[in-house]
């Protein structure tokens, strides 16, 4: 098993080295235009320089702050709305056309409005992240609660459980696996929404820096930031996987 893993690792290393080597060779010899695609060594140099630049860390802080706040607010609002909908299905039926219409709306098109309402600062980014997280977590909350094992519900009813016991001991706990998959997706989408809004117009943030570097044809810088964003995405996923393993070890 260990040898198998090592072989796979070596294959990846060879693939990446060859691909980057060809890229670097192409850029240096002029086979590919460096001003449009950059070069691997240029990207490494920019990344190294940017690592010691305070501005990068401030931008990353702004982006991550917006992601966390929009995710927390969006999830809390979605779980609350999901509870209301599951408890009062008639109210859900009334709201359904509005929720569906807002859900299918390309959310990125709302950025100009959010900027108008909340300014160029973190407010509009949080609004964007919130709008994406909300609908994803709302769907999973409703699906999770509706999908609770009916045997558990019947058994608990025959035992004379109070509404509080039924909710906390059966419905909510039973909904956690589905809810968690929604939260995982919601966090990724909050990240996507915040960076997307920063790219369009912002005072700060990794998206704003990315947009600035692209507009000044600093392609090495663009690749470097894309690498940073991808790394942040991977860390977020790993964190959620770890949390899932801890919380749902019973599965």
């Amino acid at each position: 098993m260990r040898a198998e893993k090592l072989v796979i690792l070596v294959k990846h290393a060879v693939f990446v080295t060859v691909a980057l080597g060809l890229w670097e060779w192409g850029a240096r010899t002029g086979v590919i235009d460096q001003s449009f695609v950059g070069s691997p060594l240029g990207i490494v140099a920019f990344t190294f320089k940017n690592f010691f630049n305070t501005r990068m860390w401030v931008d990353m802080g702004c982006t991550m702050f917006s992601v966390v706040v929009s995710f927390v607010l969006g999830s809390a609002a979605a779980i609350s709305a999901g509870l209301v909908f599951v408890t009062w299905p008639k109210f859900e039926a009334f709201c359904e056309p509005y929720v569906s219409a807002l859900n299918v709306l390309p959310r990125i098109a709302l950025v100009p409005l959010f900027i108008l309402w909340f300014g160029l600062g973190v407010g509009s980014k949080i609004a964007m992240g919130f709008s994406l997280t909300f609908f994803i977590v709302l769907s999973s909350t409703i699906a999770g609660m509706r999908g609770v094992n009916q045997d558990h519900v019947t058994l608990t009813r025959t035992l004379g459980a109070s509404s509080r016991q039924m909710f906390f001991w059966v419905t909510l706990t039973g909904a956690v696996p589905v809810l968690f998959s929604g939260l995982r997706l919601g966090l990724i989408y909050a990240f996507l929404g915040v960076v997307g809004a920063e790219v369009i117009a912002s005072e700060r943030g990794l998206g704003q820096q990315l947009s600035y570097l692209a507009s000044t044809f600093d392609i090495d810088g663009v690749w470097s930031l894309l690498f940073d964003l991808s790394l942040i995405g991977v860390v977020i996923m790993k964190l959620m996987n770890w949390l899932e393993r801890r919380l749902l070890s019973w599965q």
Partner: protein, 254 residues
């Protein structure tokens, strides 16, 4: 313990589910209800548990009271084990007691005692995913018997088990009933199980479900499932119950 007189039930006002049901269950009596699928056995159990509303003007009493959902006098055991996958065997066994307000320590002590009784000592901290189907059903039995409810409603609790595990659990159930002196209304589609476990077997016909026979089982207690295999009275009663069930089919088809 249960008194039902001329009970009929229809959910939609058109199709009759139960028709003229009339029977009594005495304290410490074990009554099995057998019949074809869809004859209303589970509905009858649900009426007793208060899961289905009693139609107005009909008579169904549990210890002289109208059935109420969540009554502490009743413990319900479902066809599937319905263990909570996020709770340990001990927490699952204590679940009923906790819902009914028994302090946690007391509930755990009683649950541990019942787990030991059903042969699961040492598995207190195991999650359901680590238990076999038979072990899970043992935990469900422990949960049911941990509660002091005098009436047990059991809906085909061993229906999903393999033959060998089923025999073991039937023996265990008989021992537990013997020790705790509960009244049991046991729904099953397995006639051999009905005759082996019960004091009386009620046979129901297909829809609309009505009682076509109430057969007394002439077998002494305590019983052993294995010993019953060579018991003439067991086989005679089994054949008798079969005949009634066939009559029910004929009547229905006729």
């Amino acid at each position: 313990m249960i008194d039902i007189q001329k009970l009929s039930l229809s959910f939609d006002g058109i199709n009759t589910v139960l028709s003229g049901i009339d029977f009594q269950l005495q304290p410490r009596e074990f009554v099995a209800v057998a019949g074809p699928s869809g004859c209303g056995k589970t509905t009858l159990l649900n009426l007793c548990a208060g899961l289905v509303d009693l139609p107005s003007g009909h008579h169904l009493r549990l210890a002289n009271a109208v059935p109420q959902l969540g009554s502490h006098d009743v413990a319900y055991m479902l066809a599937r084990d319905s263990l909570f996958p996020w709770l340990t065997a001990l927490d699952n066994a204590a679940f009923g007691l906790k819902v009914r307000g028994v302090p946690v320590e007391q509930a755990h002590a009683r649950a541990a005692e019942m787990l030991q009784r059903v042969g699961l000592s040492g598995f207190e901290k195991a999650l359901p995913k680590a238990l076999s189907q038979g072990m899970r059903q043992r935990v469900a039995l422990a949960r049911t018997f941990a509660m002091p409810s005098p009436l047990l409603l059991m809906d085909e609790p061993f229906g999903a088990l393999d033959a060998q595990t089923k025999l073991q659990l039937q023996d265990l159930l008989m021992q537990l009933c013997q020790e705790s002196e509960r009244s049991v209304l046991f729904v099953t589609h397995d006639l051999a199980e009905a005759v082996a476990l019960a004091d009386r077997v009620i046979i129901m016909s297909s829809r609309p479900g009505c009682i076509i026979a109430d057969v007394a089982v002439p077998l002494e207690r305590p019983r052993s499932i294995r010993a019953l295999q060579t018991n003439d009275a067991f086989h005679h009663t089994y054949a008798q119950v079969w005949r009634y069930l066939e009559q029910g089919w004929t009547q229905h088809e006729g």
